[in-house]
Symmetry: C2
Subunit: 117 residues, 2 copies
């Protein structure tokens, strides 16, 4: 195929990063699984990038600037660049989530404003 599209399957694993695999230019997207009782082992924030998290399955929680936020399947969050964040699975249940990293304020027109029908 030409460069019009690229496809992959993100089979369940600890973490799958899509940027290089799909040739993304406007985002990094990762699919993550945390086993029950575990968490990402560090707190982080960002310089320029907004992060959007979507809970695909299971249950967990985030700590955002010290505040505990419960996470259930179907939840979506925007986290501002400077927010200090850390993600955890529930004690008795794993959590699967997608993390979308984009440059803050980078989006111009979208949907109807950017579409050609």
């Amino acid at each position: 195929m030409a460069n019009n599209y690229r496809k992959m399957n993100a089979a369940d694993g600890a973490r799958v990063e899509l940027h290089d695999a799909l040739g993304l230019t406007g985002a990094e997207v990762s699919v993550n699984v945390l086993p029950a009782g575990t968490g990402v082992p560090f707190v982080h924030s960002h310089k320029q990038n907004e992060e959007i998290y979507g809970i695909l399955a299971g249950r967990g929680y985030a700590v955002l600037d010290g505040e505990r936020v419960e996470l259930n399947a179907g939840d979506w969050l925007r986290v501002s660049p400077a927010t200090k964040r850390q993600f955890f699975a529930a004690e008795t249940e794993s959590v699967k989530y997608v993390c979308i990293q984009v440059k803050e304020n980078s989006l111009g027109g979208y949907t109807a404003d950017d579409a050609v029908l």
Copy 2:
């Protein structure tokens, strides 16, 4: 809460758009469900935006510049702005997918290059 984060639940429905609900500035993200045997009723492309599709559940197919591409849960695709695209559920199964719309070439540093630990 301040502007450090915003959260919502995208309960199953025909389409949930997150941009305005979450105050996104670098992407539009939509969660979409097509019932079995149905499809998006139009072909579209984009002026500036790259789209990233992730199949969350079910089965379907896309037609990308006239080529049929099978879609199964766990598949992720990058679709370039100019690609003519149309999405369908399988005849006997619905498909649930996330569509991430970002401006092509907008991402600068990411992950380790943008993180503050």
